[in-house]
């Protein structure tokens, strides 16, 4: 990486930092000041504006893992491996956030921390798959083997999502649960102000994804650079 591109990247990421910061301030203002409190659920419902964007972000991140894994196996460039790795890490963090904010929201509304509902179950399975992905990466030494194995798992894991979706959906249709999920209010038509707040929050989280992704990719590349320099200096002296 030469000096100029490094500076260019620096500038780009600082613009992104400011944008993300502003978007989050706007989202916070919208969530806590602008949007009216939901009638039946009360203030706890505001957690939705963190819950849904986190879910969206983690699914998006896992999709990027899938695409990068395919591209890695096709082109065999380290670049794609870094993207898959960075995206998987971000995805797992936000999937964990979904699994944490979900029960916090569920306890006062449904009266229980957890129900074995289709969507909750599939999110948990998804989390397990990508935690296993990160564990696989941690278990192997850096190099082409790690990248290839991780890419195979990234592909296999993402292709599992439709199967998980349908199997847990049909699994639960045999034991009907109270219609809890509809309390999210998507189908019922949301108040425009709520929809706007959710939109702002989604935007802020998406920006955050690109920001984190950029930082993580840069970090990984610097790591590679340090390794390369180390080897060069060690052997030349």
């Amino acid at each position: 990486m030469n000096q100029e591109t490094a500076e260019g990247l620096e500038e780009e990421s600082s613009i992104l930092i400011w944008l993300t910061g502003l978007a989050f301030v706007a989202a916070m203002a919208a969530i806590f000041l602008f949007v009216p409190t939901e009638k039946t659920e009360g203030p706890i419902q505001r957690i939705m504006y963190l819950h849904i964007p986190s879910a969206w972000l983690s699914f998006f991140a896992f999709f990027i893992v899938f695409i990068s894994s395919i591209l890695f196996l096709w082109k065999k460039e380290r670049e794609w491996d870094i993207y898959a790795y960075a995206s998987a890490e971000i995805g797992v963090i936000f999937c964990s956030l979904v699994l944490i904010t979900g029960p916090i929201w569920a306890k006062p509304i449904w009266g229980t921390w957890w129900v074995w509902d289709a969507r909750l179950t599939s999110t948990l399975i998804l989390w397990l798959i990508y935690v296993a992905y990160l564990m696989l990466r941690a278990q192997t030494d850096p190099g082409s083997m790690r990248a290839r194995y991780a890419a195979v798992l990234g592909i296999v894991g993402f292709l599992n999502i439709p199967f998980i979706h349908f199997s847990v959906l049909w699994w639960r249709t045999f034991h009907p649960q109270p219609k809890v999920i509809s309390s999210e209010g998507f189908g019922k038509g949301m108040d425009p102000s709520m929809l706007a707040t959710l939109g702002i929050s989604l935007g802020a989280f998406t920006l955050l994804y690109f920001l984190l992704m950029g930082q993580r990719v840069r970090q990984e590349k610097l790591k590679d650079e340090i390794d390369r320099l180390k080897r060069e200096k060690l052997y030349s002296s």
């Binding site: 296993a132 696989l136 290839r148 195979v152 292709l159 599992n160 349908f166 199997s167 847990v168 699994w171």
Partner: protein, 226 residues
């Protein structure tokens, strides 16, 4: 094509000869599956719970756990004496190694299952014979899916430092859809529902099998690469 089939056959034959000489795998898989069933029987009260409700789940958990032993063994044995390198040096397509291992894993697991099923029938007092045909189809679909994904992941995990631990961690979350499918189907069969009423589950498990065999064919080259 004939050559390709011969190469697959040679790998299966090799696995069988090894098993006949050592007699380690089948017996340990069988005893382990039996133990899993026993432990579950102690942990539930069969006089309260209906056997046909908990039975299918226990049966498939036993198959799954015992099958994992087989999968772990299948590539570790090759690793031990550098046999995998030998297999890879054979001037043949790499997918022959996958198919050979897939089929031999499948056969070993099926033999074990054929021994477990009568015992299951005795322990849980469930009449399997009246719906044996559909049950065998379900067992076939489930075992094939397990072996399809399991063979791919065990070829991968055999190169890791902590292979026995990593294989289940990688494999089980991915197997959840097919496990739900086969447990549901087995349960409904035992309740006397004909197999034709469960077309969506058959579709799910069959497409799981096909897609993962396809993905394995496409990716095995990247795993078996030194």
């Amino acid at each position: 094509m004939n050559l390709y089939l011969n190469q697959i056959g040679a790998i299966i034959w090799k696995d069988f000869v090894t098993e006949l000489k050592t007699r380690e795998l089948l017996s340990s898989m069988f005893i382990f599956a039996l133990l899993v069933i026993l432990i579950f029987i102690f942990s539930i009260n069969l006089s309260i719970v209906k056997a046909s409700e908990v039975g299918p789940g226990i049966l498939w958990v036993a198959f799954l756990f015992a099958g994992t032993i087989g999968l772990n063994r299948s590539f570790m044995l090759e690793k031990e004496n550098g046999c995998l390198m030998g297999l890879m040096l054979v001037p043949a397509d790499r997918t022959t190694i996958y198919f050979g291992k897939l089929i031999s894993n499948f056969i070993f697991l099926s033999i074990m299952e054929l021994f477990i099923l009568p015992l299951f029938m005795v322990f849980f007092d469930i009449d399997l014979l009246s719906h044996l045909g559909p049950l065998l189809i379900v067992v076939f679909l489930g075992t094939l899916g397990f072996c399809a994904l399991g063979t791919l992941l065990s070829s991968l995990s055999s190169n890791l430092k902590t292979r026995e631990i990593m294989l289940p961690i990688l494999l089980y979350p991915l197997l959840i859809p097919i496990v739900i499918g086969v447990v549901r189907m087995t349960g409904q069969l035992l309740d006397g529902i004909p197999l034709l009423d469960m077309m969506k589950w058959i579709g799910l498990t069959a497409s799981f099998d096909i897609i993962y065999i396809g993905v394995s064919i496409m990716t095995i080259d990247h795993i078996l690469e030194e």
